[in-house]
Amino acid sequence: MTGTGANLVSFLAIGILVGCGVTLLLERSLSRVLLGVILISNGINLLIIFGGRPGGAPVAGVTDPAAMSDALPQAMVLTAIVITFGFTAFLLAISYRSWYLDGDDEVPDDIEDQRIKQRAARKEVSTVDFGEEPPELDPEQLDAPAPGRRRGEGPG
């Protein structure tokens, strides 16, 4: 074990942030989902940063390299923070769009999935392209006989 910044306080902070974030994430309101995402990303950023070694600011000439905090997780987290901002803006725009279309920002159940559920209940299949219309009904049935069906017509 070479030194990391991990300590009890950081573990508690990570756990509480992620736990609260997950609770919010499981909501249906997009605003709450978004707040959950922000809490979770704060927690995970802390997790990453505390994986490295704490110390002085990582600026050469100011801090002795031996006493510097680990720069690699900092660079990772820095991009993560900004990406979270982009993500936040995007989810906010979706909330707005959802409100604009439906009057609220709740995530409804997916309609297509509902349809598949109904289909399963009615014992249907999804593909209707095949086998529904016998080829005899084809308007241009010149070049394509249907062997399986023609057989029933008897011998010649």
Binding site: L26, G51, P58, L78, A93, P147
Partner: protein
């Protein structure tokens, strides 16, 4: 050989151009490609005539040990002749068969030539993987050819069925190939054949898998169903794919492997049972068809069964008979298909109940058909007779097989007669069919093929000589191909078969009820439909169980898996047994309390604004942790981002209802909190594990030195971003650009690049003369929405803030700061302008398109990366440029600064897009709609507005 393959590929590529210029006549020049293959094989005949091989090898994917290994022996020589010769003939025929104005001719011609090339590759490949690639190429191209009339359901259905069944077999075959190749350590068949075979179950499984491929490709039982359905293809396609080329691929595979694998336990039973059953059932089915093409299709099925038996049985005499039969079948069956094409083309039908008197109307065509059908029935002196004699002679020592072969051949004779009678006979009560003039380019191809069949039969001696080397690979050959081989059992059987076939044909009326009744209890067609239907049902059932459509359910499941799997591992390794420090500094617990209280309150908050502010507080708390940890860059960025986030949130929250809606999930709140607690615990445990997991030296310990020496900067974090890990940052910039564009496209209903409101297309009358103007856009706001203090403060600090952002940008290489924090400060300055002065003020402050800023940022970043490449370094490598400036003195510039400028611009572009979308555009929307949501939600929206 590679030249030939390239020639086919080139022809396929230029085919659409030629067709556009010449229409279907472009098939004439395209026929040169397969004709060249035919000619080449003819020229190289001496090389293979005595059992030699023509070998060419080109390196291809050396990492996989995969070479373009091509090898022509007698069997592949014969196949090349057939594939090239029949291919050229069919293309010539197509030129007149296809209507001049038909759509899809370009695709047809290209795919046809491409198919000929793929088929050529298949028969010439020595490397099994190359063979497999060509095999699947023919599958895909045949899919396109069968589905040529894509507007017809039957054609799509037929194409899909052929694709699914042959791919199924092909994949199984691939596994078999890999098993053989893996064991031998090479994929060259010529080398595998020379090495000892694997033993036991391994070999049995490999052989069965390979047989699966051969059976499916050659439409042998139980995969017969796709071939009759594939008659939906244009007739020339059927003549080529379903007579001469593709269906022969399975037989070719049997012929290629039989010398080595025929002795393996499952080979003979599988091949003999499948082949014989297919032969009899196919022949029986052919007798009841009314459609001439279907009659031929079932005839082909039957003959493929015969070919599989003779070539697959693995004796030298049978092999000789088998390859002769292979050639004979390709010649007569292609001829007959082309004859049917002529009839269909001229008469508009192929139904033998509607045709009458064609024999008299088209005597030459009838003559060609008689020649080919006689070869099929085994009438001397045609090649079909010679081959069939040899087949009978080769199986005299297997009486059961021979008996079934005789039955199958009787049926063959009967349906050959039925074909001739159906196509050319006269039926009382039906008007004579008019055929019109047959174009010579449609008559010559079938005539030529039929005559070759006659010539080859007469020249049985030389043919025997040419084909003998293949049979010799099985052992000594006793049989001879000949028209007259003396009075023996085979001759007697030939006479018997011809007579029997005539009798069966003669008895067609009494036999009719039996033909109608006696059939397989389940047709392949029904079986295929049943299987695919079951698959669809299972897919729907599984989907309906797993895809419930509820986002919380999906997320909950994913998170529970996170808790269960890594959490379970945590319980096992118990990382908490190491000593853990309580805290880093005493200030940490204070921050922890603030964060915890804020996060827990945020979970329960009922008002959006409250929840948002509480979450923001955890963000600031996180920033405090960064400060205490020793990460000033992070803390700076986190503070700035948190502030911008809150501002953007407020912009959206003014539209959304103040409180969260009455929650349908209220009842499950404890479940959600439970999941939250478990996941929180798991992640905390992961943090403990991560903290105690390091045993090796971190690579980042070299970063400070690298930053100074190679990145020419002292701020290690910044140098990491713009130099050491610059590719990551470039990826991140792309994400930001995408997010910004996404935000804009979600909010803007019109184009976002249209002219923005520049200042005063509004009434200026309200601006009182003499009253100081702090912000020009301020006058456009309603008096109630204005805040003079804010305007003054903004006016005072805007430029300072922008200057500060420049400072952060330029000094970031050596001190905390950089493109990200600089851009965020500039974004905050813009946000203030917008908040104080409204959307007109925003347009004043940044009179450029957000998209332009984003694009410029990305371009500068990428340009900087490329610049260092042009300067001789690697992409994104930093270089230091020293120069002297007046007043400043010695000065240096690091090229990665350009990259940071790109970052700076992208961040500003993102903020600008967000402000424009969620700010200005939403403002406009409020003004024009009076604060209502869209039309769909007007009813619900009204209820919530106050």
């Amino acid at each position: 050989m590679l030249v030939l393959l390239t020639l086919h590929l080139t022809a396929a590529i230029v085919a659409p151009l030629l067709v556009r210029r010449w229409g279907p006549r472009a098939c004439y020049p395209l026929a040169l490609a397969p004709a060249a293959a035919f000619g080449w094989a003819l020229v190289r005949t001496p090389d293979v005539a005595h059992g030699g091989a023509v070998v060419e090898t080109y390196p291809w994917i050396s990492q996989l040990g995969l070479d373009l290994a091509l090898r022509m022996t007698t069997l592949s020589w014969l196949m090349t002749l057939l594939v090239g010769g029949v291919g050229a003939v069919v293309l010539v025929y197509s030129a007149r068969y296809l209507p001049a104005d038909a759509v899809g001719t370009a695709q047809y011609a290209a795919v046809m030539v491409g198919f000929a090339g793929a088929m050529l590759g298949l028969v010439l490949a020595d490397d099994l993987l190359l063979l497999y690639v060509c095999w699947e190429l023919t599958t895909v191209l045949s899919y396109l050819l069968i589905g040529h009339s894509a507007e017809r359901r039957s054609a799509r259905w037929a194409a899909g069925q052929a694709l699914i069944l042959t791919t199924l077999g092909g994949l199984a075959m691939l596994v078999g190939f890999i098993m053989l190749g893996h064991h031998a350590g090479t994929y060259r068949w010529s080398e595998i054949a020379a090495r000892p075979l694997p033993e036991g179950t391994y070999l049995v499984v490999a052989v069965l898998l390979i047989l699966l491929g051969a059976l499916s490709k050659s439409a042998l039982l139980p995969f017969t169903s796709w071939l009759p359905v594939a008659m939906a293809a244009p007739t020339p396609v059927s003549a080529y794919l379903h007579a001469a080329a593709m269906v022969k691929a399975g037989v070719y595979l049997l012929g290629l492997f039989a010398p080595v694998l025929a002795g393996v336990a499952p080979w003979r039973p599988v091949v003999l049972v499948a082949g014989l059953a297919t032969m009899v059932i196919g022949g029986w089915a052919a007798l009841r068809q009314h459609d001439l093409k279907l009659l031929l299709a079932y005839g082909t099925v039957s003959q493929l069964g015969l070919l599989a038996v003779t070539i697959g049985v693995g004796t030298a005499d049978a092999a000789l008979a088998g390859v002769a039969m292979l050639a004979a079948h390709a010649l007569f069956k292609a001829t007959l298909f082309l004859v049917v094409g002529v009839i269909d083309h001229g008469a508009g039908t192929r139904d033998l109940r509607k045709l009458s008197g064609l024999g008299r109307a088209a005597p030459v065509l009838a003559g060609v058909a008689v020649l080919a059908a006689a070869s099929m029935a085994g009438v001397p002196p045609l090649l079909g007779f010679v081959a069939k004699e040899a087949v009978f002679a080769a199986f005299t020592d297997r009486p059961v097989v021979l008996a079934v072969l005789v039955v199958g051949t009787v049926l063959t004779v009967a349906y050959s007669l039925r074909f001739l009678w159906g196509a050319f006979g006269s039926r009382p009560g039906i008007a004579p069919t008019r055929l019109g003039r047959i174009p010579p380019t449609m008559l010559l191809p079938p005539a030529g093929l039929a005559l070759v069949g006659l010539a080859a039969g007469l020249a049985a001696g030389p043919v025997d000589h040419l084909l003998r080397p293949y049979a010799e690979s099985f052992g000594p050959v006793h049989a001879h191909l000949a028209i007259w081989s003396g009075l023996n059992l085979a001759l007697g059987l030939s006479v018997l078969v011809l007579a029997g076939g005539a009798v069966v044909f003669w008895l067609r009326r009494p036999l009719a009820p039996a033909l109608a009744r006696v059939r397989a209890p389940v047709t392949g067609q029904q079986g295929y439909e049943w299987v695919t239907h079951r698959f669809d049902r299972v897919a729907v059932d599984v989907t309906s169980v797993t895809q419930r459509g509820s986002l919380p359910q999906y997320l909950g499941l994913i998170l529970l898996v996170l808790a269960a799997v890594p959490g379970g591992v945590l319980l096992y390794i118990q990382p908490w047994q190491y000593p853990i420090a309580l805290w880093l500094t005493p200030a940490q617990p204070v921050v922890l309390v603030v964060i915890s209280v804020a996060a827990l309150l945020a979970v329960g908050a009922r008002r959006r604004m409250t929840a948002m502010l509480l979450v923001g507080m955890t963000g600031y708390g996180t920033a405090m942790f960064f400060v205490l940890y020793g990460a000033p860059d992070l803390a700076l960025t986190q503070f700035l981002v948190e502030t911008v986030t809150i501002a953007v949130f407020v912009l959206v929250l003014r539209r959304l209802p103040k409180r969260f809606s009455v929650r349908p999930l209220w009842s499950s709140r404890w479940l959600r909190r439970g999941i939250g607690a478990i996941v929180g615990l798991t992640v905390a445990g992961l943090a403990v594990a991560a903290a105690t997991a390091r045993h090796a030296r971190s690579i980042s310990e070299d970063f400070p030195q690298l930053a100074v020496e190679q990145g020419h900067g002292r701020n290690v974090v910044n140098v990491t971003l713009v130099d050491i890990r610059a590719w990551d940052t470039l990826g991140e910039l792309s994400v930001l650009v995408v997010a910004a564009t996404g935000v804009a496209s979600l909010v803007f209903q019109r184009s976002r690049t249209g002219p923005r409101p520049r200042r005063l297309d509004v009434d200026r009358g309200e601006v009182l003369a003499g009253r100081p103007v702090w912000l020009r856009g301020g006058a456009t706001l309603h008096e109630r929405n204005r805040s003079l203090v804010l305007e003054v403060v903004t006016r005072l600090i805007f430029h300072t803030a922008v200057l500060f952002s420049f400072y952060l940008l330029f000094s970031g290489h050596n001190a905390p700061g950089g493109g990200f924090s600089g851009g965020l400060v500039a974004s905050l300055a813009l946000t203030m302008r917008y908040l104080a002065g409204g959307r007109y003020e925003l347009a004043e402050a940044a009179p450029v398109n957000a998209g332009t800023v984003l694009g410029a940022g990305l371009a500068v970043a990428v340009g900087g990366a490329l610049a260092s490449m042009f300067a001789g370094g690697e992409a994104l490598e930093s270089a230091k440029i020293d120069f002297w400036l007046p007043l400043v003195g010695d000065f240096y510039l690091v090229t990665s600064l350009f990259f940071d400028v790109g970052v700076y611009l992208v961040v500003i572009g993102l903020a600008l897009d967000v402000l424009r979308s969620l700010g200005a555009e939403v403002d406009r929307n409020i003004e024009s709609s009076g604060g209502r949501p869209g039309v769909l939600a007007v009813e619900r929206g009204r209820g919530r507005r106050r």
